[in-house]
Each structure stands twice: as C-alpha cells, then as structure tokens.
Symmetry: C2
Subunit: 348 residues, 2 copies
DNA sequence: CGATGTGCTGCAAAGGTTTGCAGCCGAAGA
DNA sequence: TCTTCGGCTGCAAACCTTTGCAGCACATCG
C-alpha cells in the first residue's frame, strides 16, 4: 500500500537512484528533475522506509533513553527536552524504564543496542565497569554520573550540596542529616562527599541516613529516624524524598521549618506547590537532556560507514567531552533559623 | 563488527535459514541442531537485526505513543505502563510530546507512521475527522476519547464528574464552577455534559470557566474569576489545575475547604502531597496504558503479511472494541460543607 | 577537430533477514 | 522392493534503499 521509491521513480520517469538523491543529496540532481520528483513524491505520499535505509547505512536514526523511573518527576522534563532535541535532528527516541533495577538496566541497554545509534544512560544504577562494557557495544552518553573515558553530562550536585549546607550553617544549624538516595547513584556519592566536607568545615555534625528509595514513601519512612537523631536540618537526596519527609514529620507533630529545616534537590515543579514551598537545589534537567543528545549525535555522525565499518569502537581519538552543568540553590519556605534550644522537641 | 545471522550459520555449520528458523519457528528445527545454533548465537552475542527483519516482514516491532505533555504528571504512569506492557511483548515504544499543539500532533503521527506498527494517541487534541484520516495510514488506538469506528480506551470521567458533583451537592453546595480544560479535549466535553446534567438534577447552578491550559498556572490564573463568581465549590479539569487554583485562592485569602471546596481529576501522586490533600476523581491511567497496548497489538498481529499485503486498511471486519475504564471518587481534605452564608467572603 | 571537463543520470551491488519451495534421508506401509 | 510420507534443511527471491562507478550529452579550451 505505501508508496515506495520505485513508485515515485515510475511516476516521475526517472531511475530510483535519482529519487534517492533528490532526498539525500539534492545538489546532485537537476533542479527541474528535482521539482518533478518532489511533486510526485508529495503526490503519492511517499516517505522513505527507514528500515531499508537503516539496513544499508547502518544508522537507524533512533536513540535510546534509559531512565530509572519515568514516574519520578525529575525525569519527564529531561525526556521531553531530549525528545525535542532529537526530533529536531530527525531522530526518534525510545524511552525505557528500569524501575530502579540495575539488572533491568543492563538487559534493556542490550536489547536496545542493535536498534539504536546510541543510548543515553540517565542516572544509571549499574556499576562503572558494566557501563564501560556496554559502551563497547553501542555509543553511550552518561547523564548524572562520571565515568572515565566516556562522554558524560553531569549536574554539579556537589556544589549544590555545598551551597545547601552553607545556607543551613548560616541559619545556625549545627546538627544536620543527609538523606541518602538509592545504592549505586553517583549523585548520591557526590552529595555525601561534598556535604561531609562542608559540614566539617563549618564545625558542625552530619548524620547519614540511607540508602533509601528516592520517593516520597522513602522520605516519609525516615521521619521517625530524623526525629530520633535530634538534627535540626535535613538535606535530602531529592525533592520527592524531602516532600515525603515533611509529610512524615508533620504527622509526628514536627513542623517545617519551625522545628526542622528541609532542603531537597532537583527543583521539580511540585516543589513550588507544596506547603511549605520547598527550598531546593535546582538542577538543569532540560539542558542536560539537550546536551546529551547533542553529544551523542555529534559523536556518531562521523564514525559509521556502511554497516560493515568498524563502528564506534576502540581506537578513536575523539575527545570524549565531560560536561558539568551548574546548579543553583533556590531558597523558599522549608528552611529557617535553628529553633531555640528550649523549643527543641526533637528528642521528645 | 556485530555478529550477523551468517556468522552464526558458519559457526554452527548450518544454513542461515536454519538459524533464522531457530528463532522464529523453533519447532521446525531439530532439537540437536537447535541447541547448537543457540549456543553459537549466544557465543557470538548475536541479536537479529530488527531493521532487516522489519524490511521483509513489514513489522517494525515498534509502537508510537503520542502524548500532549510528558511533563504533565498524568502521563508518566500511563507511559510507564504502556512501555512495560510493550516490552513484555517484545515491542519498543517511541514517546513523542506535542506540547498540547494539535498541529504538532498531526505532524508527529505522520512522521511516526512508517516507523511503527501502530500508534497510541493519548488525549488527542486534534479533530475526530483528522484522527480517522490518520487511522487509514497507520493502526491507531485512541486513549481518552471516543471516535466512532476506532478502538478506544476511555476512562469514565463522566461518571467521575457525576460522583464529584453529587458529593458536593451532598455537602450542601448549590453554586458550583467547572474549570474547563484545553480546547479539543474529549474529557473536557464529557465532564461538562455530565456535570451540567448532575447539577441541574440537584437543583443547583453551574458556572463554566474555560477553556484553559491544563496546568497549575492555568488553574492559578482562575482564582480571581472563581472568587468573583461567588461559587462555593469547584470541579477542575484535572489535579494540576485544582492545585494551582488552591494556591491562587490562598493568595487571595480564600481557604480550602473552609471557604471553597475543590475537586480535581486524575489522582496524580502529587494530589496526596499537597495541603490540603486533594479530593479527586481517580483515573486508572496505568490500566489504560496496558489496555491500549494490548488492543493495538492484538489488533495488528493478524493483518500484515509481507509488506506488500493490503495492510491494516479499510474493509476489515474486526470488531473495534471500545473499552470504558471505571473511575472512582477519592475524598480527601479539599472538600467540606458549604460555608454558612454570613461567612461567605467570596463576594467581598 | 580532439581532448578535457562538468553536470546529470542510470546501473547494479550490497545490506541482514524471512519464507515458499524443493530436496534429502530414513522409516513405515504395501 | 517400491511408494509415500514426515521431519528436517538448503536454496534463492524478496523487502527498499543507498552509493560507487560508469556513461552520456554538452561545453570549453587548445
């Protein structure tokens, strides 16, 4: 039913190769012929068969995007940005969801490998060595993690965590908790490292709670522990956990920010809508999505030649860029001055 | 670099057709041969080239999912469910975002048509006739809209709206507003139709406000209008608008639910996290995603035969199912009894 | 007039897989 | 012993496009 290149060729009285060139190398075909071919193509509703093209060029014009959990509001803006940027360059995006499961992650990237020109690994939970391994099978850009020798786009959560801690120190807090995220998260390690240093530098004390599921539930479940720990301020792995925690503290009778200050990370849309509005470290997720797509596409626009080529494997001298995007502390209503000692109900 | 069917054939000493059959029709090949072939394939890391397969079978094993706005928290659970279900059946999902733009919607579905075996049109904003037109080009399952002659999966927002209105009537409200959603939304029309009937049946009065952007901003912008209208209760097109409205009312000094009751639709995760917790009509989004994938796949698992077949076009006698999923009113804290007349500050 | 070049087009191979058909071998039935 | 049949495997065409190469017509230059 659908028109093929042959139909167009017949209709416009030229050879199929001329039709092909009309689309892929217009400058090689006579303007007159070109308009005629284009007219016929338009007429027949011809669209090149991407599978056939992929078969011979070795490029599918698809990219894979693997995320830990689509339902986590951190990801959709990133997906949206990546999808838009990709479409802009005539690429389509496969989105896959791993449910925070490293094994599913590995399986998925293998399943996708043959079907895409590259994959964006977003907030991967698998090990660095595994990532390096898959990167030998398919071009990879890593988001939210640093892997030596691979193109990465990161958000500077370290700096964000430092800003958050300094904000808290400035408000007088001396006992601070860090709510850890999921095992395997680079962001998590990074935050811990920098937060610990910043707290130490401020002469304060840091309590580590984790690892945890990076969800409201995960945050809410920690309310009791936070209360017992006697801290007056908390930096959470992400906004979702922060919000869950606030909820949990509330049901324990602890008020934010009067009794406890809470800071999240990500600045998801939601963080502006809760009460109190959340103080948080804004991460440039959309920019990250766009940048990653650009890096991937630039990265493999040169390499492959007729499927049989040596692919995008070892030995190439491209400089694998690593981009660090800036974060920013957004102060809203969930942080406040340390409560006066007498009012400290935390130990009650 | 990647192993082809030929490599496997050579390694296991059989013809490529036998290798092919080992995967696509195992019962046709001798068990001994089969294990040998499988071993070699495993060994070489062979994965069939989907482009080549698509070229000859005419089936890409991809499906397209077009949504109005990935960043709207209504969609991610649906995407997630659809993606999981598809993967389960060895399909991949292209996700595309139209930014609530009907034109982008049409363009996208055309761009996708050749590359997928079918598309899920989720909450489409384009006209019915356009939908019917694209459905002649590519198999379509429509979500959140009823289109005669096409497979549809809908959520019974009509019934949900009725339950919501009756809940409000039961609390004594007699002046109710309906916050409309985007132009072109079937859900919107459906809610309006049923809500109007229910309000009339209860001897109350309905004020229509819309159409609006289905976002927090869209909801917040209506706060002033809601106040002026003097209603004591509001049913919003979705949770996002409801939450935005509550926010907006708050900054006008109106409290929810003491001064105004608010009900949303969707029961997004967020609605449990705001304060007050939102009373809302829960829609089974995940189920809708799964169902739609099933309908699409069952739908075109029979039709196509070697690309040249007549495709999934007119004349087929399959019964195009239309599924209506049930909704449920979830009463939380954003609705309460009508305020006593004296306390009515709405007109102030 | 011959040589060279330029601009455009046709030819045909290649890419990896599926699948209808034919062929082979051994067993069972006559 | 000769058919017949079933189980398994090989053969080759087909799917649609891209692309290196060759060919053609024509113009330019020496």
């Amino acid at each position: 039913m659908p028109a093929t290149i042959r139909d167009v060729a017949r209709a416009s009285g030229v050879h199929i190769s001329t039709v092909s060139r009309t689309f892929s190398a217009p400058h090689l075909v006579n303007p007159e012929t070109r308009v005629r071919v284009l007219a016929c193509a338009e007429d027949l509703g011809y669209r090149p068969n991407r599978a056939a093209r992929a078969l011979i060029t070795g490029r599918t014009h698809n990219i894979g995007l693997i995320v830990a959990d689509i339902a986590n509001p951190f990801f959709p803006p990133l997906i949206k940005a990546a999808e838009g940027q990709a479409r802009h360059r005539d690429y389509h995006v496969f989105v896959a969801d791993t449910n925070e499961d490293p094994a599913a992650e590995e399986e998925l990237v293998h399943a996708l490998a043959k079907q895409v020109d590259g994959v964006l690994l977003c907030s991967p939970r698998m090990s660095n060595s595994l990532i390096e391994q898959v990167s030998r099978e398919v071009p990879v850009v890593v988001i939210n993690r640093q892997v030596a020798g691979l193109p990465c786009v990161m958000m500077d959560v370290g700096q964000g965590a430092r800003a958050a801690i300094e904000h808290l120190l400035g408000l007088g807090h001396r006992r601070i908790a860090l709510l850890g995220g999921p095992r395997g998260s680079w962001t998590n390690r990074e935050m811990r490292r920098v937060a610990a240093a910043a707290v130490r530098a401020g002469g304060a004390e840091l309590t580590l709670l984790g690892p945890n599921q990076p969800t409201e539930t995960g945050g809410g479940a920690l309310a009791e522990q936070v209360r017992r720990s006697g801290v007056t301020a908390v930096l959470a792995y992400n906004d979702l956990m922060a919000i869950g925690l606030i909820e949990g503290l509330d049901s324990l009778g602890l008020r934010v920010p009067q009794d406890v200050s809470v800071i999240g990370v990500d600045d998801i849309a939601l963080s502006r809508l809760t009460r109190p509005k959340l103080t948080t470290v804004a991460t440039p997720t959309a920019a990250a999505g766009r940048t990653a797509v650009d890096m991937l596409l630039q990265h493999d626009s040169d390499a492959p030649r007729g499927a049989r080529g040596r692919g995008a494997v070892a030995g190439d001298r491209r400089t694998t860029a690593q981009v660090m995007l800036q974060t920013e502390l957004v102060v809203r209503d969930s942080t406040g001055p340390v409560p006066p000692p007498g009012r400290d109900v935390a130990g009650a």
